[in-house]
Amino acid sequence: MPPSTDLLQGTLDLLILQTLVPGPMHGWGVAQRIQQVSQDVLQIGQGSLYPALHRLEYKGWIRSDWGNSENNRRAKFYALTAAGRKQLETELATWERLSAAVGLVLGRIPEASA
């Protein structure tokens, strides 16, 4: 299983923030959602997931609360903060600029601008 370190530096943060936009979610849920949406291409192991969640929390972009999971178990839910939303916007903008730039270098016109 390719570890998530293959992801670009900072990309995991972006993915997590994006995943949390619809609402609070626990760690397992975040990992599952990313895997689902990416059609099993991106598999986030707990070894990268939890350090990243903690990092984001310490930066104040997400906050955590204990709550009950869908099967009524105690679980830690992470939710986007206002600062996190702002950060997400900045990062999305950066990402788009970056991927467009990479696309240009690779000689492929991104679909968005086609």
Partner: protein, 892 residues
């Protein structure tokens, strides 16, 4: 930005209160993740067992995640430092020998180095309290009777006029006792200096001003500078002291300034008051037969001029003025130019360098020891590190852990070392002879504490980190033997080097011990037991004439004779075997034997001359080997009699026939005349040590101290009391007898044995110190050797088991383990002996009666080393020999 920072702070604060909580939160979170994973697998159709297994495999290591998560926390490393410290302390508790050895080694290394450096620093590297002290020199004449340079007024002013190498030239006219004759009288020391004395040395008063040119003229205004000490004790640091009048020996002087607190005279005399010498330059060409008063000259070199160059440039001037010296001993005088520091330190240099070298060697051994201990421990812990690494601990974390341990040990070692340094320093000061300059002011030097701490940290850190640096291999988990080749060789080299260094130290120490033994065993040629010495240095103001001295001393003599328990009382103007009483010397060439050719001037060296009473020989039990001693009648008679030492008799009268010969002494005023009394030789006495304990014996002659030469009496006068009673009993009687004669007379009482032993203080000090360091060094080297051999034996326990199982005898095992140690001992010992032989020349100056390559001393060192080192090897080797093969095979 601000918000982010605040969030960090919030977590930091929260973390302090609920660290455990966070940890279990994380565990619960991970547990939840795992369970969901299992459920997902089950949902995918796996059996419960399979689901669980697959989930665990996917999950991976937990430890690493935990650490990663912790690391995200702001200030996370604070927690790990505390954790590392707890871990390290637990480790030390489990293996106290390691910790104690490292701490003891560091303490010894740091303590000894710091203490000695603090002492030596004052001697070798201390900056003098003068601006640009490296350019200050002392210059003048030296001759056989006075080896410390001085000059005479006429010479000085001629040199000052014509000299080129110096920026400025100054002098002091000596410092002597003076009295404050005011309402609150005090005994002080007053120094008389040239007007440009302070500017030349680069000293400026902290209050008031320096002397004005007109104040340095004869009959100029009387002014004085006072020392900081006097300013405090007499005026309580009152700034209004300036302009006050002070009465010095009945003469009023105005205080114009206060000297800096660290002021000292270049010849280190005590000085509370400094006055302008106000010397009349013209008078210097007439006084003292045109030679002038004795002065002590100092100068500041021009920038870029070296002492040797200054000396070369002064030489023609010296040659010119040399012609003024009477021809008889003109050739004896030489020019001396040396730095003030050299003049102050005399022969303390050699001892200081040797001490510094010794302590540096000890420091090297300590570092080697710490390094090899850490290296051995590192090797032994390779497996532990591999396990922790496999469990997910990062390499940085492992390195930090090792560093924490080194740091903790270094901290403990430093603390212990500082305490030890303070103790050692106090001990040094307590046992040091008075002759070692500045020792009493020695203080712990913080710079050197820091330096040694850094050095030992470097040693510990470097060798502690090495094993952690290389990524622990998976093989380390399985490997039975963890003794990696490179490190093992490194440890062996370290141990051999330690042995070599301690051999150098030991051989130095053994040479000094032997030399000291020789000194103690020296045949003095006289009796020192049961002899009490009494010195009464009378004040010239109360006793203005020599006759007054004579009357007092004769009355004291008869008073002492009546003391119970005192069998005889001798008198002399100096005491053997001390060589420092310069006033008791004369030139051999100045002795004239009637009817014989005089000896060529400037040859024959010096002769000790002592003025004694008849009982001097009896008290000291100096044998009269020919003729007779002096008699009591001769003391008051009119004849002039002398006794020669055997050495002098043989020099003057090689053919014998000594008794009844007539001898006269040359006088110089300043030109040679022969007008003194004619002495008759009445006897020949045995030789007595008279040039210090280590010096060559000088020929000696005894003049009878008789009452018809009252002009020869002064306050250089010693009583020698022969008594079988203890000094503590007789001393009060002596004091009361003197007090009956003159209650103000100062009395100094000692035993001759003490006086003699004082002369050996310096060698005793040097021997004790070097011996101490040698023992420290040997001890540490042996600990290092023991550690390495024991470690090696423990590492090879399994191998030993296999060998025994295959038929090796216990003797073979002993040979195997001890052989390694013996190789190190022989290698280190040989290298050390070679180094010791080449370095021994350096301490030649400190040795007496023993050559620097004394075979017996070196053999002793070799034997001691072999014995101790073999013991250190055999103990672990024997333990290895006793290994039970079955248990050894099961080892680990």
């Amino acid at each position: 930005m601000m918000a982010e920072w605040l969030t960090r702070m919030r977590f930091l604060v929260r973390q302090i209160f609920r660290r455990r909580g966070r940890q279990s939160d994380l565990d619960e979170e991970l547990q939840f993740h795992l369970e969901r994973s299992i459920e997902a697998n089950k949902a995918a159709g796996m059996t419960p067992d399979e689901a669980r297994r697959q989930a665990l495999v996917d999950f991976g290591g937990v430890e690493r995640t935990r650490e990663e998560c912790n690391r995200q926390r702001p200030g996370w490393w604070l927690g790990t430092v505390a954790q590392d410290m707890r871990y390290a302390l637990r480790g030390f508790r489990r293996n106290p020998v390691f910790a104690v050895t490292v701490i003891a080694t560091l303490a010894l290394g740091i303590g000894a180095t710091t203490a000695v450096f603090s002492v030596v620093d004052r001697i070798l590297f201390r900056s003098l309290p003068y601006a640009h002290d490296d350019r200050l020199v002392s210059f003048g004449l030296v001759q056989s009777l006075e080896r410390q340079e001085f000059t005479l007024g006429a010479f000085f002013f001629d040199w000052r006029e014509h000299q080129k190498p110096f920026e400025s030239v100054t002098f002091e006219h000596g410092a002597s006792a003076c009295n404050l004759t005011e309402t609150n009288p005090a005994h002080l020391n007053c120094a008389d200096v040239a007007g440009n004395f302070l500017p030349t040395l680069g000293i400026s008063p902290i209050l008031g001003r320096d002397f004005l040119p007109e104040e340095d003229l004869p009959n100029g205004p009387k002014v004085a500078l006072i020392s900081d000490g006097l300013w405090l004790s007499r005026y309580n640091r009152d700034p209004g002291v300036l302009g006050k009048t002070i009465d010095i020996d009945g003469h009023a002087a105005h205080i114009v300034g206060v000297l800096p607190r660290d002021f000292e005279m270049p010849r280190l005399q005590a000085a509370d008051i400094v006055r302008p010498a106000a010397i009349d330059e013209a008078e210097q060409h007439t006084a003292n037969s045109g030679l002038g008063f004795p002065l002590w000259a100092f100068a500041r070199l021009k920038p870029g001029v070296s002492v040797a160059e200054a000396r070369a440039e002064m030489d023609p001037l010296f040659r010119h003025t040399q012609l003024w010296i009477p021809a008889e001993f003109r050739q004896e005088f030489r020019l001396q130019v040396r730095s003030i520091r050299d003049r102050q330190m005399q022969d303390a240099y050699t001892a200081a360098w040797v001490l510094l070298g010794a302590v540096f060697a000890v420091l090297l051994i300590a570092c080697g020891n710490v390094a090899s201990l850490f290296s051995a421990r590192g090797a032994a812990r390779q497996r532990e590190l591999a396990v922790r690494s496999a469990l997910g601990a990062s390499r940085g974390r492992l390195i930090r852990q090792t560093l924490t341990e080194s740091f903790l040990l270094a901290l403990a070692g430093t603390a212990a070392g500082c305490v030890l340094a303070e103790i050692l320093l106090r001990t040094f000061i307590a046992i040091a002879p008075t002759g070692v300059p500045f020792l009493a002011q020695a203080r712990l030097d913080l710079r050197i504490v820091l330096f040694t701490v850094l050095l030992s940290l470097l040693c510990a850190g470097l060798f502690g980190i090495l094993p952690a640096l290389e990524k622990p291999r998976a093989s380390a988990l399985a490997a039975r033997s963890t003794n990696s080749g490179v490190q093992a060789r490194l440890r062996h080299v370290l141990v051999a080097a330690q042995i070599a260094i301690s051999v150098v130290l030991l051989s130095g120490a053994s040479l000094l011990v032997k030399s000291f033994w020789n000194l103690e065993q020296e045949n003095l040629g006289m009796q020192t037991r049961n002899v009490l010495t009494v010195h009464v240095p009378l004040n010239w103001e109360r006793y203005p004439t020599s006759r007054a001295y004579m009357d007092f001393y004769l009355r004291a003599e008869s008073a002492f004779r009546r003391l119970p328990g005192v069998t005889s009382v001798g008198m002399s103007n100096s005491l053997p075997p001390d060589a420092n009483s310069w006033h008791g010397g004369m030139r051999f060439a100045d002795i004239f034997v009637s009817g014989k050719q005089r000896t060529a001037p400037g040859t024959g060296g010096t002769v000790v001359i002592r003025m004694v009473t008849p009982d001097y020989f009896r008290v000291l039990q100096i044998p009269i080997v020919e003729g007779r001693g002096f008699t009591e009648e001769e003391r008051s008679g009119s004849g002039d009699f002398i006794i020669l030492s055997k050495l002098l008799a043989a020099r003057l009268f090689p053919q014998g026939n000594v008794l009844g010969q007539h001898i006269q002494f040359a006088n110089y005023r300043p030109y040679f005349v022969l007008d003194g009394p004619v002495f008759t030789v009445v006897g020949v006495a045995g030789n007595v040590k008279n040039a210090g304990l280590a010096g060559q014996d000088d020929p000696e002659l005894y003049e009878l101290r008789s009452s018809h030469h009252p002009e020869a009496w002064d306050n250089h006068h010693f009583f020698l009391l022969e008594t079988s009673l203890p000094a503590s009993v007789v001393a009060p009687w002596v004091r009361s007898r003197i007090a009956q004669l003159d209650p103000t007379a100062p009395v100094e009482i000692g035993t001759l044995a003490q006086e003699v032993s004082k002369l050996a203080d310096r060698p005793r000090f040097e021997t004790a110190l070097l011996g101490f360091f040698a023992c420290c060094g040997l001890l540490m080297a042996v600990i290092g050797l023991y550690g390495v051999i024991a470690f090696m034996a423990a590492q090879r326990t399994q191998e030993i088991g296999v060998r025994m199982a295959l038929g090796a005898t216990r003797l073979d095992i002993l040979r195997l383990i001890a052989g390694e140690g013996v190789r190190l001992i022989v290698l280190g010992g040989l290298v050390g002996l070679a180094a010791a032989l080449s370095l021994a020349q350096l301490i030649k100056a400190l040795l007496f009666g023993v050559g620097p390559h004394d075979p017996a001393a070196l053999m002793g060192v070799a034997a001691l080393l072999a014995l101790v080192a073999l013991a250190a090897t055999l103990i672990p080797a024997r333990a290895a020999m006793r290994v039970e093969p079955v248990e050894a095979l099961r080892y680990e």
